[in-house]
Assembly symmetry: C3
Homo-oligomer: 464 residues x 3
């Protein structure tokens, strides 16, 4: 629950003295915030007399003297300079050292900074904290995006003491366990959407591929063969073909690894052998893949809905009406066309509605509030229904176009036909897996049964 | 804050030995994860020599021997077999027993499994944990949807020890209090949207009812009386009547119980008498009811926006234009129609916009960040405004249609008219409750005043 | 993770006795809940014999007697009456006093109620809790919107005891640190969107200003000069000009303060001097400003998408088609218009898509799961891209209209032209800041470098 950045505005002095080693940016920003929150701050510096200006109200001493003035010492110096701390080890004995450091890249050092620090000064207690916050948050007080800080360390008491300081700075403290977790915490600020890279890469690749395919098939063909310049269609018509195609393919890619994993388990007759690495990685980014597909589907919806206000469409409709009047012939109303197009829109809307529901259920706060059974009901049952409706939408859109020879310009099939391959394969495989005999085997395997072991599943479960 | 499934990739040994009783699926999956996270694992088995294969790296011993090798013992056996634990009670003395069990249905046993276990082995300390995770999460490491685990138990120290193991497995641990909460935790994995059943049931019932009503009134009437086949309208036109009608009715059903509760309190003259059970249950699913209504309203929006790209609509517009040309008569522009339809769309858009805002504010993470005053401002004030705008939208849509006899085919009123009954009643009742004299009484009652008690509200509040 | 309001339904007695001082609404509601959760409850009252009815099952005693019956005492009386507690100080010694009070307005008293209570009864331990819950939650058990309660206090042990009671009431307890945080907790229930006031005020002001500007320029001008009544356009056409204009201006206002802060830092040559107060406040409400802009942009999208189903638009299109037929002249298809309008829609859709992405990433649960680097990538890089696309959308919409003298009715420029001023300025300034030389200076300053200090940045960082 966000209580707003209130604490900073209530600088009641609490008298407690805290020590900060290092007068660089981090040290000064942190010192300033500590002062604002009512603490006394003592900076430890190599040259206490000729040091850069520290925030007003803070004292500067030598490292050894500063260390003795406080119980908690924030180590705001670079890992490369941790070495000198060994020289004042006696003064650090029993102190709580807060490691706030980050590295410039992952795996720079074999050991986490905090573990390294603990090894250097074994008689102090090291707590990792505050490193996931931006400098902005440390200087100006926490805002919405960074009210949380992680704390880890081996001493519950030391963690508690550091947590209290953090709470006073207006932060929400989350305990992440022992000091062994500090590598994870040190890597966290460096990450830039690691799980989104593969899905975004696939989406970009598919988008580019289908864009050029359709550019050649639609625009360039019309220019070369018919001598017509319809390049303006790139902006909306072409985009509105590429986006739904890529979206449908990516939605199928979300469900393909699950089907493949099931087939693999059936083939192997056990669930205890690990999947190949690529399959594991694929399965771990299904959520991100689905959300990218949802984003593209949303663009498709918007691109579709603006069709009737486009200049080109209005021009064509007026031209067609005028030509009907002039030729004095009216086209016949086709019940089939009415049924087909309305069904096609309806399937699209229902599929998109379910897709949005899947997206909402993957918001962290929503998925956290679901039991595992509920989550798998939505993501699996409703997910396949979504895939089915969207595939049906594409089939109804295409209808009998794939039969007409004119659809194959320069032997290139219409885009929608290509987009249907993968979803159809996934749906057929899923149907096979749902056949009672196959489903029964799979369920047994997923409950721990193994082909080739002598015990059957019933004794197995009774084993204690 | 999700730190991604990192821990699994860093199998630093921590040396600590943990014990797992049971070599079934749960025991093996858990054992494998523990081994991956750097623990030594000892399985306890009835037949340590002829047991099913355990994960590589784990030892298998007899239960008694295994129990002595570790401080924490994970009980991965079925409740039915807990009995034998009494026979090794001496070896379990002082150990932490982690009950990870679930049942196949609610209320199978009079007592929670964990409480039962504690009663059987009173000299051990039982902690309930890990039961809300899927087998997948235990085997493959936590992913987004299941990083959380609940822990409950009577010993803070034992909970802490178990929490540390869970944290090391990459889970976020939430303490749910004493062992008495274990029944709640054991029921959690079994639940499948318990609070959504009533709202979804109502939505389905209303949808079916209005669908058949409108099918008869629109499609079948046209077929029987006019001999026209307009069955294609089922797909879009009919759906786009049923969805908004059901949505509006369900939105009214969200606000009806609050109004009824207020009237009941006014009638009784006290707030301390509990409401009837059905009213309580109704009030508890208002949020879900509103979200179902929002989903239907969203479908209504999409169905409305595709109207101009429908084949049928384009055909009719062209036909009408052509017939105007041929008859050489143009229709007159009607200021009233322009005002009415534009207002009708505008109210719909604003109502829908507010409705989406209500939906966003009921996302767990958003509603958690609101103070109670803020939440009730949105859900009550803005909620009634939404209901008002949507009702106005429906009134403007209908306009004077209800006066025309042709609207009553086979004596059946137009659908929109039926949908307006409930919202109108709710809005009128709410207006009555807002009358100063009524509002004053209600406020007094809600502050604790009771009719018939001798003290008036002012002394009452001073009572200490 | 919401486990549903289950606890209330399982009234297992736990035997522990709790004391409630005060038989007003708060005391009675709380007492009832405690009884339902299985506690024994003793009310302390001034006149135990002639007191108002307490919930069935509770006892009533004198304050002194009640205090001795329990370890935890809930103080449900108004702060004004805390005084009498001094008289029973001996009985309160060593007890845990839970302050549940709230005030009617902010800063009513110089000291938080809980701190005041602690000062009055120094030998008891005061814990602040439960005050952020609504009376409804206390009486009927927690529902979705208020399952959380904050606890603060100086004694970890006392907080733990109170937390256990809260957990048993079905609440999620969040520890907010020492008793010094109680002022914050007491202000929390009073707040009504404090951070939204400025953005909403700006939005309202801008909306009103542009509404009247466009009303005069479009509707009143047409009435006065051309004698045409087009007042019906207020409902949709005018709204659909005002909303996008205000949205674009507010989006620019989100990014203006960041640019200004950067310029100020460049000018001052240091980041250590605080920003002016107005700039700080502006920066703190950027998120809210952006979300208001997003809401207006969403309305703009809906208002745009209903254009083709408007009566007025259909009438005009039919009229234009008919007049083309009658005059027997068809308009020429313009490639430029096709390109321009399609690009204009495409930019709008992509800009809106990114805008929605920014909105989603500012949901609390999403932004909490992002590292600071990820969050700033989205909000800064993607944010500027959004601003750029939306500005381009407006430029393409306007195209060469601003060159035509007829666009300046009564010397009033078209609305879109006014909306472009601020975004253009922000984008140009941002471009300047991205020039390599400027960017380098700024980066140095943000890393802690200060102009005029003797050490250069490299030695600075080495200082320890």
């Amino acid at each position: 629950m966000s209580l707003g950045p209130v604490v900073a505005a209530v600088p009641q002095s609490c008298g407690e003295s805290l020590c900060v080693f290092g007068t660089g940016d981090m040290g000064r920003s942190l010192g300033q915030r500590l002062l604002q929150s009512g603490y006394s701050v003592v900076f430890g510096s190599r040259r206490p007399d000729s040091c850069v200006p520290v925030p007003r109200g803070a004292q500067v001493m030598s490292h050894a003297a500063a260390a003795q003035s406080a119980r908690i010492i924030f180590i705001c110096i670079h890992r490369e300079h941790y070495g000198f701390l060994q020289t004042i080890a006696p003064q650090l004995k029993g102190k709580v050292l807060v490691d706030v450091s980050n590295n410039l890249e992952k795996d720079m050092f074999p050991e986490a900074n905090a573990s390294h620090l603990q090894r250097l000064v074994p008689e102090a207690t090291v707590v990792k904290a505050l490193n996931t916050l931006s400098a902005w948050a440390l200087q100006n007080g926490p805002s919405d995006s960074n009210r949380q800080t992680f704390v880890c360390g081996d001493s519950a008491e030391a963690k508690q003491a550091v947590s209290e300081v953090c709470t006073r700075l207006g932060l929400l403290v989350l305990d992440r366990g022992s000091l062994g977790a500090s590598r994870e915490l040190e890597d966290f600020p460096l990450q830039l959407f690691p799980q989104w890279r593969l899905p975004l890469g696939i989406a970009l690749g598919l988008t580019a591929a289908f864009f050029f395919y359709l550019l050649i098939r639609d625009v360039i063909y019309a220019y070369v063969v018919d001598g017509k310049d319809i390049s303006f269609r790139i902006m909306v018509s072409l985009a509105n073909k590429v986006f739904p195609i890529v979206s449908l393919v990516m939605l199928a890619l979300c469900y393909l690894p699950g089907v493949m994993a099931a087939l693999l388990q059936l083939h192997r007759g056990t669930k205890y052998r690990p999947f190949p690495d690529w399959l594991d990685r694929w399965m771990l980014c299904r959520k991100q893949m689905g959300l990218v597909a949802l984003a593209l589907a949303s663009l498709h919806v918007l691109y579709t809905l603006i069709i009737p206000i486009r200049y080109y469409v209005r021009y064509r409709i007026a031209a067609s009406t005028i030509s009907q009047v002039l030729k004095n012939q009216t086209t016949e109303f086709s019940q089939t066309s009415a049924w087909r197009t309305d069904s096609y829109y309806s399937m699209g809307i229902l599929g998109f509605g379910l897709f949005v529901l899947l997206g909402i259920s993957s918001l962290p706060s929503v998925s956290n509030s679901l039991s595992w059974r509920e989550f798998s009901f939505i993501q699996s049952k409703l997910g396949y229904l979504t895939l089915f409706l969207c595939t049906l939408h594409a089939y109804l859109y295409g209808w009998d176009k794939f039969l007409r020879p004119t659809s194959y310009k320069w032997y290139m099939a219409p885009g929608y036909l290509l987009s249907l391959v993968l979803p159809s394969v996934v749906l057929v495989l899923k149907l096979l897996l749902l056949l009672p005999c196959v489903d029964r085997s799979l369920t047994r395997i997923r409950r721990g049964w193994e082909r080739g072991t002598t015990q059957d599943s019933s004794t197995h479960r009774l084993l204690i």
